[in-house]
Symmetry: C2
Subunit: 163 residues, 2 copies
């Protein structure tokens, strides 16, 4: 294995083999297992609200960061731009979002959530909150806080965009 | 929001709203962002080896848990059975795995990795290890261990299967 001192693992040692780490100690494996189950459960619940995963994620992001461009929304929602674009068309047809030209640069379009969009998010949030609560059942607040702090470092380590 | 004492959050309080938690403190959001980037980067690297994500994941799991049934492999690899089935056909055609009837129950088929399959995994593991190292750059061993312990609890909280 090629050694890379800039991204040294632990005290500069190479990463052990997967069989040595063990599948249940390999964080990317656990994270894919957990998020695979979380996303599948949420997809089933959202279908009852007529919302696909891209539509649900777009609404969730816009409920907290409104008026962003589609390229940014694509990163925040973790949905590819072509897929997101179709989802936004549907959300617009349903009156849940609007596309609005930037007042300072007419070439830039910003995505704005409508009051009906906020109300739709309010209806789905209890499902998301229930899944979140279930995920952290029996895990103390300080452990959850430490976990989130590690996630924030990991995102800074691997993200492509500065947000 | 409906309260659910069995899955109480923190000290039995309801989950605050997403805007109150903040996107960058909401663990499922961070985990989807991180794994979206990790999986996309790995997909690009694996394409150079002629391996799709389902094929790569099947090889990775079989390199540590050999001789399992397709239904189990589907859970471990986080790949739907129909998609996994096609990936296994390709891996078999390439001589990287074999399907083998269970000696005790001929109705059961077990998936076995071949020597060529192990060699193929050895070739891709350095890429996976490099991504893993990058993900945890600057994160101390004890912090990583605590993080993994929390992930193990979360998986027990939300998994459907007892493994």
């Amino acid at each position: 294995m090629k050694q890379d001192p800039q991204h040294a693992f632990g005290a500069g040692e190479p990463v052990p083999r997967l069989g040595e780490i063990g599948l249940y100690n390999f964080a990317p494996y656990l994270m894919n297992r957990i998020m695979g189950r979380y996303n599948a459960s949420l997809r089933e619940e959202m279908a009852e609200f007529g919302l696909s995963t891209p539509k649900m994620r777009a609404l969730a992001v816009l409920s907290v960061i409104d008026g962003i461009q589609i390229s940014q929304l694509s990163v925040y929602a973790v949905v590819e731009q072509s897929t997101l674009s179709r989802a936004l068309d549907q959300l617009m047809a349903e009156g849940l979002i609007r596309r609005q030209p930037d007042p300072n640069d007419s070439r830039v379009t910003r995505i704005v959530i409508t009051d009906a969009g906020r109300a739709a998010f309010e209806r789905i949030w209890p499902s998301m909150a229930r899944m979140y609560r279930r995920m952290f059942a029996g895990i103390a607040d300080d452990e959850r806080a430490a976990f989130v702090a590690t996630l924030q470092k990991m995102l800074r380590n691997i993200r492509k965009h500065e947000f």
